[in-house]
């Protein structure tokens, strides 16, 4: 397969890589004007309170303070910060500044000063009097709690999402296929268990940053570390009551996102100051602010029931979920639905399925998009429960999965029923090498169902576990990406894309796609991306969409370019365009006679062709009619210290079907990076709070992410797979890596100790406690 391509599948270095590694100015704060006002945000010290008064007078007396802005200075417009399609499936329940604060870290006032130190001092001088209100901190008692977090009348949903703010419910959803209760009653084996997943912090190493200025035409320019420039423009227009034509959003290089920058967190606050003062302004979050005042992963409680026949056929699955969206409802419904829509189709031969529950408000940090986006939570519950079922039935968990899992050419009713906040689309799975992934993963780890655990030293048990996963490739009929291509003199191409490279290398792989189709090299492409003034529309980087959605748009633009070039050359030489062949940077007749080189023609069309001179430019847009899932089979080997409860991951094997990897190295790093984030969540990452709702894990000292010493080995391989609807056979690869570690490690822990831990993370005290309970039985 790989040999048929000249650019695609090749591990080209990222086009921006060398500049980044050698420290060229690249990120938002590197590029901010030196005279930008420093904007700091005063944040709530209370989980829930009403602001009785704000007195900025002392702060304003401090030399160098430019302005202090409060809710009294801002038009009261409810909006959502979630970077999603229009209309957003998230409720409009947030105000840029409000009289109420709903979690510790919520915005109270904005201070702008000439430098960091002055801004910091001014923050301390703003006097705020609060009426502290009772707070809802436990998500299991949030629904119908006497304390209502959003009593304000202006907030609303954009279409029905089960929004009931008076009951602290941000969204709700229920679906059923067939008759789950009936089928479960007929099953020989039924497992019913409840699982808990915790809030995880993204910890992109670049803190959220934005700067704003007015250009010569008085338009608001926003340079920001965003995953979705076009959504950011639209949401800022709404929140600031500005026509979109008066806003330009640019994304320079950004230091990681993982969903944490699929949102408008800092931009409006810099903009407020620029609009008020006419001066450039910047917001650079501190790490503490990133932890306390951006988003986390949704905490969830998932109750799973699975029923199977004696021969191993799984007949029904029910998942009932409670999700904690924190103080605001960004991504509340959609993350929740992905918990089912990107797990249930793994077992597509079931006769009945049910999925439903509520997403509740609490007075905690809002939850939002985070790589995996519900699928990781659903995967932990479902893939743990599948192992529990296998053990109950006395079957090898691999065999149980192999009998029941989805195969190429099949479908699932869930695809049609569950989509992005509403219905989905019907889809036949045209590429699925999950069976190969499972076989190869087992082989790579040396999986042995008869010897899943053994003692390697006194008290140290070595064990294996596994899980499978799926994700999507963009949101069908909602996500759209576009690309413009233009031939330049000297024979190279400008590729302008709205797509947003978060560091994944998407600028590079999209250029590889264009180069492949044009039969030129990556070095012939100049890429410019993510600028609402100068690049075409794209939803941005989320939902595993860039390779598939934006990639298909680039492919279309390149196909059009080939056609346009042939026509232009035909016109010049008085030939039928069908008779012109474009190959190896040269134009030939169909008889093989050389007409002109691409380079010479590029000069001709711009300088020499008289009245026929023209810019040769093409566009492509793509909106998927389907969302082909990538698949992954994971096998892990861990050591469990039964004296301390500590788990060491020795080797994590992942075999991935992402279709054609456009850039094999970059695809591999996507998976490896996802695996480690998943392993971090499985073992110790956990956003924790004090009793009054203060975040305890608000620095990298108290919130640990994996270091390079924490994991033995990650082993990643790709299956040979080709997705007919994808660009050169590609599907997505950005999220799939994160999904399996929770369940695979928990399953290995069970195999090691007989202790089934259904609450994450698998910290030593929790593991030890579970081991002791098994011993006491």
């Amino acid at each position: 397969m790989a040999n048929q391509f000249s650019e695609v599948t090749k591990s080209r270095p990222k086009i921006d890589g060398k500049g980044l590694v050698t420290g060229r100015p690249a990120y938002t704060d590197d590029l901010a004007p030196p005279d930008a006002l420093v904007v700091r945000i005063l944040r709530s010290p209370h989980a829930h309170a009403k602001i009785l008064s704000i007195d900025p007078s002392e702060a304003l007396k401090l030399p160098g303070v430019e302005c202090v802005l409060t809710y009294q200075d801002v038009e009261r417009i409810p909006y959502t910060r979630a970077g999603q399609g229009n209309p957003e499936p998230s409720p409009h329940d947030k105000f840029i500044l409000d009289r109420y604060v709903r979690y510790v870290g919520d915005e109270v006032a904005v201070v702008a000063a000439v430098d960091e130190e002055t801004a910091r001092q001014a923050l301390a001088l703003v006097k705020v009097e609060y009426q502290v209100l009772p707070a809802v901190l436990d998500f299991e008692t949030a629904a119908d709690n006497p304390t209502v977090i959003h009593p304000e009348p202006e907030i609303h949903d954009m279409f029905p999402i089960g929004f009931e703010p008076k009951r602290n419910i941000a969204a709700a959803y229920d679906m059923e296929i067939g008759n789950v209760e009936g089928v479960l009653q007929e099953c020989d084996f039924v497992v019913e268990e409840t699982y808990y997943t915790q809030a995880q912090a993204h910890v992109a190493l670049e803190p959220h940053t934005a700067f704003t200025y007015l250009d010569l035409q008085g338009r608001l320019n926003v340079v920001t570390s965003t995953q979705n420039p076009f959504h950011t423009r639209r949401l800022m227009g709404l929140a600031l009551h500005l026509p979109l034509k008066n806003i330009r959003v640019q994304k320079p290089r950004i230091g990681g996102g993982f969903g944490g920058k699929q949102v408008v967190h800092v931009e409006p606050y810099a903009a407020l100051v620029t609009l008020k003062t006419g001066k450039p302004a910047k917001v650079v979050m501190t790490r503490k602010e990133v932890f306390e005042s951006t988003f986390t992963r949704h905490q969830m409680r998932l109750t799973v029931r699975i029923g199977a026949r004696r021969d191993g056929k799984i007949r029904a699955i029910d998942m009932q979920v409670l999700s904690n969206t924190g103080a605001y409802g960004e991504h509340a419904l959609t993350v929740f639905m992905v918990g089912g829509s990107k797990t249930l189709p793994l077992y597509n031969k079931i006769e009945a399925a049910k999925f439903g529950g509520k997403i509740v408000y609490t007075n905690k940090i809002p939850a939002g998009a985070f790589r995996g986006y519900g699928a990781i939570q659903g995967n932990f519950a479902l893939e743990s429960a599948i192992d529990e079922l296998a053990h109950k039935m006395g079957m090898d968990p691999v065999e149980l999965r192999t009998i029941n899992m989805i195969k190429e050419g099949e479908t699932s009713e869930v695809f049609k029923i569950m989509g992005e906040g509403g219905e989905g689309v019907e889809m036949i799975v045209e590429s699925c090498k999950l069976d190969y992934c499972v076989r190869r993963g087992a082989e790579l780890l040396g999986y042995n169902p008869r010897r899943l655990a053994y003692e390697v030293a006194p008290g140290i048990v070595r064990a294996q576990g596994m899980a499978i996963a799926m994700q999507g490739s963009g949101i069908p009929l909602i996500d759209m990406g576009s690309a413009n291509l233009e031939l330049q003199d000297d024979g190279f191409f400008k590729l302008h894309i709205g797509a947003t490279d978060l560091g994944t290398g998407s600028d590079t792989i999209l250029a590889q796609i264009a180069a492949e189709e044009l039969g030129v090299g990556l070095e012939d492409m100049v890429v410019y991306a993510s600028d609402t003034d100068h690049t075409p529309y794209d939803v941005g980087a989320y939902a595993s969409s860039t390779t598939y959605v934006s990639g298909n748009a680039v492919l279309k633009a390149a196909q059009e370019m080939k056609k346009a070039l042939r026509h232009a050359v035909a016109d010049k030489y008085g030939l039928d365009p069908e008779r012109v062949v474009f190959k190896d940077r040269e134009f030939l007749t169909d008889e093989g006679k050389k007409l002109v080189s691409l380079r010479d023609f590029s000069y001709d069309t711009l300088y020499h062709n008289g009245a026929k001179m023209k810019t040769i430019a093409t566009s492509g847009s793509y909106s998927g009619e389907k969302s082909p899932p990538p698949y992954l089979a994971a096998f892990v080997e861990i050591d469990v210290d039964t004296e301390t409860g500590k788990i060491d991951v020795r080797n994590y094997v992942a075999v991935v079907d992402c279709g054609t990897p456009i850039n094999t190295n970059l695809a591999k790093i996507q998976v490896e990076g996802g695996l480690l984030q998943g392993i971090g969540m499985a073992l110790y990452e956990d956003v924790r709070y004090s009793e009054n709702g203060h975040m305890l894990t608000n620095s990298l000292m108290s919130y640990t992410i994996p270091s390079r010493e924490d994991v033995g080995k990650l082993t990643v391989e790709f299956a040979e797979s080709y997705e007919p609807s994808g660009p050169f056979g590609a599907k997505s690869v950005g999220e799939i890596g994160i999904d399996t570690p929770l369940a695979a490690i928990a399953n290995a822990l069970y195999n090691a100790t007989g202790a089934r831990v259904r609450e994450l993370p698998l910290t030593p005290p929790r593991v030890l406690d579970a081991i002791r309970r098994v011993k006491d039985r």
């Binding site: 591990s11 270095p13 990222k14 921006d16 890589g17 060398k18 980044l20 590694v21 050698t22 420290g23 060229r24 100015p25 690249a26 990120y27 704060d29 590197d30 960091e116 130190e117 993204h202 992109a204 190493l205 670049e206 803190p207 290089r253 950004i254 230091g255 990681g256 993982f258 650079v284 501190t286 790490r287 503490k288 978060l502 560091g503 994944t504 290398g505 850039n663 190295n665 970059l666 591999k668 790093i669 998976v671 490896e672 990076g673 996802g674 695996l675 480690l676 984030q677 620095s699 990298l700 000292m701 992410i705 994996p706 270091s707 390079r708 010493e709 994991v711 080995k713 990650l714 990643v716």
Partner: protein, 154 residues
């Protein structure tokens, strides 16, 4: 107050406040290759060499740098570019935000330890966190770089 420091071979006098941390002072002076990540000395994106030793500059008082020599990644541009070739060949640069701090630590490790074994390597570099790559690609790059460039010094 003022401090006088040699940055990338150039003597500079910089105005600082008593409590300023070195990262902020360097960024303000135009050395934006020194990134600001965690503010607590944990992530390593702010790593610079102080008299040849890697330190997290976000947790180092600028005052204490007075009279000393600071090297950022731009001060070892040639070696950084060589290492960048290996890192980008693995695709392990990713978002790149941790790369300058990581790269300068790799160069310091090479000078200090030559071509150490994997465990030593991981331990030396453990203070440089990366949230994108899962570290495997970085490890592949460092190993190949040290094999090829072993013997040369920065």
């Amino acid at each position: 107050m003022n401090i006088t420091v040699t940055i990338n071979g150039q003597k500079r006098t910089l105005e600082i406040e008593y409590g300023d941390m070195l990262t902020e002072v360097l960024r303000k002076a135009g050395y934006v290759e020194v990134k600001k990540g965690c503010d607590t000395g944990n992530c390593g994106v702010c790593t610079v060499l102080l008299d040849g030793t890697p330190i997290p500059s976000c947790s180092f008082l600028a005052l204490r740098a007075d009279g000393r020599e600071i090297t950022t990644i731009r001060g070892v541009e040639k070696e950084a570019a060589q290492f960048a070739d290996f890192l980008t060949a693995e695709g392990a640069d990713q978002c790149g935000f941790c790369s300058p701090g990581f790269a300068i630590t790799v160069l310091a490790m090479k000078r200090e330890l030559g071509n150490p074994d994997e465990a030593t390597m991981k331990h030396y570099l453990a203070g440089n966190l990366c949230r994108c790559s899962g570290y495997e690609g970085q490890l592949r790059a460092v190993k190949k770089y040290l094999e090829v460039s072993h013997g040369e010094s920065i």
